[in-house]
């Protein structure tokens, strides 16, 4: 087997099995599951097989469709090209869809028309994988369209549920505006450069940007902004993540918005090579900060578990865009790391939300409570995910947010621009608000009083627990073994993003990049100051000793429970100051009314902006596109 064929095989296999599932598996569950699992496993294995060559040896894998290699210095055929950046995102993508496919088997069991579901699921997986592996910008557009199409259909899959159709429609409208922007940008780019190959575009555009290419650049940045759901394009994300089947929500948040982020990085760093421009940096940083702030404040106001997670997804992507927009290798490292971590912990959180939905029948925060008694393992996984997203050490969110803060400070220092100080503080505050929001969920869903109607809720089945367990494991591992992640994943990816001569030469022939004047800059190793495995080891020993002491000293006891659920000894009951029974008047979703009351004016504006009317959303999107185009036109020409 030639390793050059692996990327294209991985993509083809998914598309092929998408149709096989529909043809052979629409009636029989076993065939359906078999085809799906085999397809995703083999595809994931093919991608993993690229690791030694690409990430460790630093090679670039290329494949020309139909062996149509460049003629006379012009790349006409469609080429697949896998550098470390592509492979980094491809790994995230395969991990996400593999885990989601495993989860789907149990989770979607009771739905109808599952043949359609798996077809769409595999098409979505294939399109996102193709998007990150392709080296051709128009092919990228086609993959974006398939991706949008499949995700819209998946959003509407449970079309009987409240809002599914509406969410899908809004997603489609905003999404297709984004795709049209991308297409217009690609058209302008082709008119100017007469090629669609990204390696060649990079070489040609490294000579500088003309008004036409700046216009193309602005449109493409806006287009990928829509795909990564940065504010104000975020509205369909909140709707579609909340109403899609949870296994699909996890895929959306784990890889569909990562596709937008990937496109953004690929465009600004590699194709247009324009990250030196401080106007572009500021544009991305401001949009990123806005995204993380609006996302988290909207999340605080939610009273639906999945919708809350959706807004957090938006907020975390804000971190990524902000970090990427800093334009430094440190920022890029932080951004990529956070993108990876977001895939892990947000996937985990969506899966726990799915488990709650499946087992308890609702995700309304006001109608849940006390589930930790009935679902202890799910609770544990949820806590791991919540700690990771809130940036609590030793989980992975801590490490990546740390690097992002460090990058933002460094930027503030180097540029002397007060904006970056504000951005840094905003990052820290958003982190605290994220924590607050997850405290709310913990309190409302897993702790607190168990409702009578949920007295017999069970743990989800094994096939749903397994992906959650794996993701929780990965969340802790990525935080604890950060230096390894950096050495084998982040550093090669950052290196590939900043130094593109290899990428260009592999596609266009040796010496092409040098002729176009593209040179390499060595990337410094990222210093992670307080990392010390021995210190952590000692720390863990101390934690265990302390825990043992407390448990030994306390001789903790809890009373027997009588048949009808009453407690035998009143001293084990919860204290209600003499009342017979008392539920907190503050509903689960309203835990932070003290905060919201002080921010009344802000929330009034936000309510008006998130009105649910599709034309309001399109207006916001069009205005934002206008702003991006104007800013880039003024500052980049």
């Amino acid at each position: 087997m030639n390793i050059q064929n692996f990327p294209v095989l991985a993509v083809m296999l998914l598309f092929l099995s998408a149709f096989l599932v529909e043809i052979f598996g629409s009636k029989i569950a076993a065939i359906r599951n078999f085809i799906t699992i085999v397809a995703v496993t083999v595809s994931a294995a093919l991608i993993f097989a690229l690791i030694p060559a690409v990430l460790i040896k630093g090679e670039v894998i290329s494949y020309w469709m139909g062996n149509w290699e460049p003629v006379a210095g012009y790349a006409i055929g469609i080429g697949y090209e896998v550098d470390a950046l592509s492979l980094f995102f491809a790994l995230l993508v395969v991990c996400t869809f593999w885990l989601s496919a495993v989860y789907s088997i149990s989770y979607m069991k009771d739905d109808h028309h599952l043949g359609h579901y798996y077809t769409l699921f595999l098409m979505l997986s294939g399109s996102v994988l193709g998007l990150v592996l392709t080296g051709d910008i128009f092919n990228m557009f086609v993959m974006i369209e398939i991706m949008t199409f499949a995700s819209v259909a998946l959003t509407a899959f449970r079309n009987g549920t409240e809002g599914a159709l509406e969410g899908a429609f809004k997603y489609l409208v905003i999404g297709s505006i984004g795709s049209s922007l991308n297409l217009a940008g690609i058209a302008l780019l082709y008119a100017e450069c007469h090629t669609l190959n990204m390696a060649q575009l990079s070489a040609i555009l490294s000579g500088g940007l003309s008004p036409t290419t700046v216009m193309a650049f602005a449109l493409i940045v806006a287009g990928f902004g829509v795909k990564s759901y940065m504010v104000p394009f975020h509205t369909p994300a909140a709707d579609s993540y909340a109403v899609a089947p949870t296994a699909a929500s996890m895929v959306f948040s784990g890889m569909v918005n990562k596709a937008g982020v990937y496109g953004m990085i690929r465009m600004v760093y590699i194709v247009f090579r324009a990250m030196d421009a401080s106007a572009l940096q500021m544009l991305l940083v401001i949009f990123g900060t806005l995204t993380m702030f609006v996302g988290v404040t909207m999340a605080l106001a939610q009273h639906e578990f999945k919708r809350l997670l959706a807004y957090h997804s938006i907020s975390q992507i804000g971190y990524v865009i902000m970090a990427v927009g800093l334009g430094s290798t440190l920022g890029l490292t932080g951004g990529l790391f956070h993108a990876m971590n977001h895939t892990l912990f947000k996937g985990l959180l969506f899966l726990t939300a799915g488990a709650v939905l499946k087992q308890a029948g609702t995700t309304n925060l006001d109608a849940l409570g006390g589930l930790s008694k009935r679902m202890p393992r799910t609770t544990l996984y949820f806590l791991a995910g919540a700690a990771a997203i809130s940036g609590i050490p030793p989980f992975n969110g801590f490490a990546s947010k740390w690097i992002i803060y460090q990058a933002a400070y460094t930027k503030a220092v180097e540029s002397g621009n007060f904006l970056y100080v504000i951005v840094t503080v905003a990052g820290l505050i958003v982190s605290v608000m994220t924590l607050a929001s997850f405290i709310k969920v913990t309190q409302a869903v897993f702790f607190g009083q168990l409702r009578e109607e949920h007295a017999h809720v069970q743990e989800p089945p094994f096939l749903m627990r397994l992906p959650m367990f794996l993701m929780a494991l990965l969340c802790s591992a990525a935080g604890l073994f950060y230096p390894l992640v950096n050495r084998y994943l982040l550093h090669p990816a950052v290196d590939a993003t900043v130094n593109v001569t290899n990428y260009i030469d592999k596609m266009m022939g040796d010496g092409y990049a040098a002729a176009a004047g593209v040179t390499n800059i060595p990337v410094q190793e990222v210093q992670f100051s307080f990392w010390d495995p021995l210190l952590w080891l000692v720390l863990f020993v101390v934690v265990f000793v302390a825990a043992a002491v407390v448990i030994m000293a306390g001789k903790g006891s809890r009373g027997r429970v009588l048949e009808e659920g009453a407690v035998a000894d009143p001293k084990y009951a919860t204290f209600f100051s003499g009342e017979q029974e008392l539920y907190s008047q503050v509903g689960g979703s309203d835990l932070f009314w003290g905060f919201k009351k002080n921010w009344k004016a802000y929330y009034r504006v936000m309510d008006k902006l998130h009105s649910g009317i599709v034309t309001d959303y399109t207006n916001m999107a069009v205005i934002a596109v206008g702003v991006i185009v104007i800013v880039m036109f003024i500052f980049l020409i």
Partner: protein
């Protein structure tokens, strides 16, 4: 391997004895005792002996730990321990004048995070107890945390900028060294608003009146702690005491870091003495003369007045003053 063994032994010593768990707990309980004694004198009472919080701690350790039926046992018991460990670790990063146990290039951020974990432990523990009172307490604790976190970050940024000149320095050791060369941070006039802001943050961080909305005994029966008893309660009480030394100690290192006696033991004594003075100044007296705030007032107070102070300091420093 002897080097590694020695390293592990030293780290264990730092974490467990000085300046980690043991030192922090003893001094923290001492400060809590001083607080009670002084406030009693202010109210013309004799008050309990200064050792009283220690007695309380050991007495609670021996009591039965009741785990309410509605609680999640594991989280309920683990929360105080996690809080304790994170707080014990913080002291490793705070220089006691000439002495620092662990120093890195960004200690300040680690400290910020670990303090947050101390608060989160209380929140998660309360949440796990399953009581509606705890639910309200948790909500208030979280809002309190959001309130003081913003000015706290701004103060730390101002200090970092002041020390770094044109860069930002987040290493406690460098901040300490800078003060040896340039005098106390407190006497830099551009840093005075930041110092005042920090002093105002201390009582909220520790959970002292008038900022004890989360534990308001008279309204919501100690909020998150309502269902705790025995050893976990003892640990939580200890955590509160430890926060007193940590916050005052952080202030001492950040703003009064010029003192050097040359002897570690003398440094430590001086450090404790300054912390005691600060405790009386910003916790005991404030506690004695004020009544509890409402949560929305607390939020507004921190996001306007205290943030304004911290921000003015940051802007002054940024302008090079």
């Amino acid at each position: 391997m002897p080097e590694t063994a020695q390293y592990i032994l030293w780290t264990a010593f730092y974490i467990l004895i000085f300046p980690g768990a043991l030192f922090t707990s003893v001094v923290g309980l001492f400060l809590a005792g001083v607080d009670r004694k002084v406030i009693a004198h202010m109210q013309r009472r004799i008050g309990p002996p200064i050792r009283q919080p220690m007695y309380d701690f050991f007495k609670l350790l021996g009591k039965e730990t009741i785990i309410p039926h509605a609680a999640n046992k594991f989280v309920f018991l683990a929360a105080p321990v996690i809080g304790f460990v994170s707080l014990a670790i913080i002291m490793l990063f705070i220089p006691i004048f000439g002495f620092t146990a662990v120093s890195g290039s960004a200690d300040l951020i680690v400290i910020l995070y670990l303090i947050t974990i101390g608060g989160v432990a209380l929140i998660v523990g309360g949440s796990a107890s399953g009581s509606p009172y705890a639910g309200i307490g948790v909500s208030r604790e979280m809002v309190t945390m959001m309130s003081y976190e913003l000015p706290f970050v701004l103060v730390l940024l101002a200090v970092a900028r002041k020390v770094g000149g044109s860069t930002l320095v987040f290493s406690m050791e460098q901040i300490s060294q800078w003060q040896v060369e340039n005098g106390h941070m407190l006497f830099q006039w551009s840093m005075i608003p930041a110092a005042i802001a920090f002093l105002l943050i201390i009582p909220a961080e520790v959970g002292m009146q008038p900022f004890d909305v989360a534990e308001a005994e008279t309204e919501i029966c100690e909020g998150p702690l309502i269902e705790y008893s025995g050893a976990p309660l003892a640990v939580f009480k200890l955590n509160t005491a430890m926060k007193m030394i940590i916050m005052t100690g952080l202030f001492t290192s950040l703003f009064l870091g010029q003192f050097r006696t040359g002897y570690y033991w003398a440094d430590a004594l001086l450090f404790v003495a300054i912390c005691t003075v600060l405790t009386i100044l910003c916790m005991t007296t404030v506690h004695a003369v004020t009544a509890r705030l409402k949560i929305e007032h607390l939020f507004k107070f921190y996001w306007t007045i205290v943030t304004g102070l911290a921000l003015s300091s940051l802007i002054l420093v940024w302008l090079g003053l």
